[in-house]
Amino acid sequence: MPSPPLLEVNDLYVQFPTPTGPVNAVAGVSFTVSAGETVAVVGESGSGKSVSSLALLGLLGSGKISSGSVLLRGDELVGAGREKLRRLRGAEIAMIFQNPMSSLDPLFTIGDQLIEALRVHRPMSRRAARARAVELLREVGLPDPERRVRAYPHELSGGQQQRVMVAIALTCEPALLIADEPTTALDVTVEAQILELLRTMQRDRGTALLLITHDMAVVAEMADRVVVMYAGQVVEHGLVEDVLRDPRNPYTKALIDSIPTPATPRDRPMPAIAGNVPTPAQAPPGCRFHPRCPSVFERCSVDAPRLYQLGETRASRCWLHETEPSGSVAETVEEVHRVG
């Protein structure tokens, strides 16, 4: 580890109540984010990537962290009081979301929403906050900020709204910015602008970025490290170059193979992973990916594989590593597999 982790998530379980009893949407997830680095959490819909990030801040409606630990600079957040979490939100950890069009309160001007964010964590006169709001809007590249500060969300485009969201997130210079699919709802050109904005902000302020996405192209462009999730578990993590060039987990491989390239033959069906991510309630026994896995063998449907450490910065959850030379000497991250 080059620097001590800013955020350390250990064996996190997130539980949702359902009519048939509680289910774990996130089951034993661990990852770290160091100061200033970009970590991408990638996976299909339903893999638990958004739930993990929302859970960190206590922003889940009915879901609860049932076990595990979340350390922010060594300070435990699981079980922390609501007031403590509230003080951290926006100040230490800020967040932007998938749908900028519905993420701003439609009844307040964007200036008011920025001022609220500014004044909630530090005492500030309204006038000073307004001046700062204009400044922030200029910093995130919103044209004509003096006028736009009085605009309502519906008067802005989706990309502009997401810029406002970034401005709100940056009001208190947070140490960590969680971006939950920040460009999924935007046009490709706007997506590039927003990603560029996030990158600039990060470079200038040294903010760590936890980027939740399902888009491998975004991962390749933005991240230092990547955490691949499937059905509520981490299946592989490592440096972006390593994982993208040489995916070790069959799921990661399938995910990367399903990105169409110009060389993809047009007369055959698009490459895709057959089937769907199982819902947490119907997670299959053994390896959760085995019903869709091209490399499946008998053991996969019986026992759940551990996360094998493959080298210093790399790990993968697959029985294949058991027989590989590097896998057989691997120490495991989790010693015992916890029963949810």
């Binding site: 609501r82 509230r86 926006g90 439609p106 709100i168």
Partner: protein, 319 residues
């Protein structure tokens, strides 16, 4: 904004005109007219009755009657009562204050208490408090206002041997007596509205609290109290305003029965008696009054929408 208001007013005027014509026609289609009811069992000859009809103008074709009436109405003359011979306008002006007081207070009671109960229930969702409030809301929603009135009256009479004064006095003459007399009618008329406002407030608060923009507000680190009182509540007001408009119709309808029960000399009692007597000018005037009150309220509510929601102000439809 002003154009919007004027358009609304113009629209309201059209509605008023149509209501007038409709009621005018309907009243004359009801079997038995004022003359035959008045002269019942008096042995008055047909010729004399016809003479009386001619005096009231009832022998003219309906459209002629309507035209004459409209001509007078635009000059501020709503005709005279077939019974008392008093000018309808005077009859009316004397009674409006009672109904307006009653209706306004019942609406206020329903709106304020309903909002408070709804917000508290939403904020404590799933708790005992929420459960109790929802139970009471359903109960009040299911019981008609006159039953509430009777229960309150009976309860007070049995347990405290107290009943409100019977003869109406205005608030300026004897405030205590007025308050005692009008309290139960206000409660009876207000509780139904309170229950529906509470239920709607609760559900639209919950919808709002689960929305993306509330998640953003929470992610900013805003206190939950502010999240509820500022963002969620304001976003719930549109739905509640709509309901209040509709609630007015219920309350106004309720005044007819409740004024009768408590012998309050308001327009409700006036229209009740006028319909029984086929006192056409009074019925038509009362209906216009109720329709007018309703139209004005709806316009006010439309303007309030625009005040609350910038998307309506700028002419964009609600999402």
């Amino acid at each position: 904004m002003i154009g919007y208001a004027l358009r609304r007013l113009g629209f309201g005027a059209v509605v008023m005109f149509l209501v007038t014509v409709f009621v005018f026609m309907i009243m004359r289609l009801v079997p038995g007219d004022a003359v035959s009811l008045q002269l019942q069992d008096t042995g008055v000859s047909k010729a004399e009755a016809d003479a009386m009809r001619a005096e009231f103008g009832l022998d003219d074709p309906v459209w002629v009657q309507l035209w004459t009436w409209l001509g007078d109405a635009v000059q501020g003359d709503l005709g005279t009562s077939f019974y008392s011979g008093e000018s309808v306008v005077d009859l009316f002006l004397a009674r409006i204050p009672v109904t307006v007081q009653l209706g306004l207070m019942a609406m206020m009671l329903g709106a304020v208490l309903g909002l408070v109960v709804g917000v508290v229930a939403a904020a404590t969702r799933g708790s005992m408090v929420d459960g109790a409030m929802r139970l009471f809301a359903v109960a009040f929603l299911s019981v008609p206002n006159f039953v509430v009135a009777l229960l309150v009256l009976t309860g007070l009479a049995i347990w405290f041997a107290w009943s409100p004064p019977i003869v109406y006095t205005g608030p300026a003459e004897d405030f205590t007596s007025w308050a005692q007399q009008i309290a139960i009618p206000v409660i009876a008329l207000g509780t139904g509205g309170m229950a529906s406002v509470a239920r709607l407030t609760r559900s639209s608060m919950l919808e709002s609290l689960g929305s993306d923009y509330i998640r953003t507000v929470r992610a900013k680190g805003v206190r939950e109290r502010v999240v509820i009182a500022k963002h969620a509540l304001r976003n719930s007001t549109i739905a509640v305003l709509t309901l209040l408009g509709l609630e007015l119709a219920t309350v106004l309808g309720g005044t007819v029965i409740i004024e009768r029960m408590f012998s309050l000399p308001g327009t409700g009692q006036l229209i009740y008696q006028a319909v029984l007597d086929r006192d056409y000018p009074v019925v038509v005037a009362c209906t216009i009054f109720y329709a007018g009150l309703f139209v004005i309220t709806i316009i006010l509510i439309d303007l309030l929408y625009a005040l609350v929601d910038p998307r309506i102000r700028s002419g964009k439809a609600l999402s």
